[in-house]
Amino acid sequence: MTQIAKETLLASFNAGIHLDGRKLTEYRKLTITTNVSRSAEGSARVLLGDTDIIVGVKLALEKPYPDTPEKGNLMVNAELRPLSNPRFEVGPPGDEAVEIARVVDRGVREGEAIDARALCVKPGELVWSVMIDICTINAAGGLIDASGIGALTALINAKYPEHTEAVVHYEKRTTKSLPLAHQPLPVTVFKIGEHFLVDPLPEEEEHVDARLTIALTEKNHISALQKGGSAPLSKEDIYKMAEIAVKASQELRKQILREK
């Protein structure tokens, strides 16, 4: 990867643009394709600049958790595949993958992307489990936001398979969609020096002082927060970052709903 001096970066940011000429609060080119895996009940491929990820949704009938007998289960997993970046290795998920999975999970769960009660088949006995797997094909920055976009799109894309009692007939897919309620999306705002920006290039991300991921629903309710990076943030910083995230999430959501 190209190493860029912080001075060069700040000079570009002072002029209000990323190194590739985008405005600071503008994402790289985003392309979304659905139905990319016929094996999954729902799937989406997200290209964000050079980043390429595939998200698949699998459904299964399972016993509900004892504390939520009338609610379906949700699971989000992220795999930073070793094929997608020379830094990634074969083995169990590392810190980065776990953070992505958990932040996307909170956004989807707390933002009530799915009406969990509508996933219940028989209270206390049988509910649908929704399993979202995020897999990187080419990891080149913006992974949390791209994952969130992919997760929401794959959920919108998913169709139930047929079932008899507790047996799922995966080979027969119905036309019925999941019980979608809201459309939460995570937006990560980065702070480098005194500048705030979204979707840094990998060489810009090297110099990040702090980041804040804010998941927002279509009603602009915040459904997840995650601060990253070692520099502290002031309250004013956070308000400013939230403002950027609200605008960015609205733009992204428009594109997802257009291309679903």
Partner: protein, 236 residues
């Protein structure tokens, strides 16, 4: 009762539709996608690069590592648990043996060439598709190769020996499923595995049909490689 018509209507020697593309993973030193029917394999090559921990290094030669992986949502039924299985371990190992004969890593002592193959969707024939993609990715990485590697699953369903099994044929009761990797230049076989039963006489027919199929695959691989390395228009 004979197997008169294939479940998906193909002729006995007809392969499913193939699609190949080289250079699909920007971060990798070489990469390729190979699709046959509804089985898609994406392969990426990294290296030759330093190998750690150091005790794994071989001062005589570079080594080849292969990691075959079905993505969690790529299975035919339930979600595939990530993190590898006995099955994926074995397939990774036989794939490395299938690819190594075409490489010469003597010039890269202590180094490793990593081949990663991920499958986003599957409908049988995954190790063969993975090998076809891996071979193109190695070529794309610019490694010296003596030949390409092509691979196909051949099987016996009832009385017929059919080429390129799909899931229905692969899981047919009393059927057999033979994975074959062949070097198209010499006709030598670098991977051979079977589930099921056949007669020694059947083997001849199996290899003859594999040879024909592998030639078709080689054409698809070549076209995809040439597509990436063709001269841009307007340059003499």
């Amino acid at each position: 009762m004979g197997y008169e018509k294939r479940f998906d209507g193909r002729g006995v020697e007809e392969l499913r539709q193939m699609e190949a593309k080289v250079g699909v993973v920007k971060n990798a030193d070489g990469s390729a996608m190979f699709k046959i029917g509804k089985t898609t394999a994406i392969a990426a090559v990294y290296g030759p690069r330093d190998l750690y921990p150091k005790f794994l290094q071989n001062p005589q030669t570079g080594i080849l590592r292969v990691d075959y992986n079905m993505l969690p949502f790529s299975g035919h039924g339930e979600r595939v648990r990530p993190g590898g299985s006995r099955r994926s371990k074995e397939i990774s190992m036989v794939m490395a043996n299938a690819l190594l004969p075409v490489l010469d890593l003597k010039e890269w002592p202590n180094a490793v060439v990593d081949v990663f193959v991920d499958l986003p969707q599957t409908d049988a024939g995954t190790r063969c598709a993975a090998l076809c993609a891996a071979s193109m990715a190695l070529a794309d990485a610019g490694l010296l190769m003596k030949d390409m590697v092509t691979a196909i699953a051949i099987g016996k369903v009832e009385d017929k020996i059919v080429v390129d099994l799909n899931y229905e044929e692969d899981s047919y009761e009393h059927g057999s499923d033979i994975a074959i990797a062949m070097l198209p230049g010499t006709g030598k076989i670098t991977l051979l595995q079977m589930d099921g039963q056949i007669t020694p006489e059947d083997l001849k027919e199996v290899f003859a049909k594999a040879e024909t199929a592998c030639k078709k695959i080689l054409e698809v691989q070549k076209t995809a490689l040439k597509e990436k390395f063709k001269k841009p228009e307007g340059i003499a």
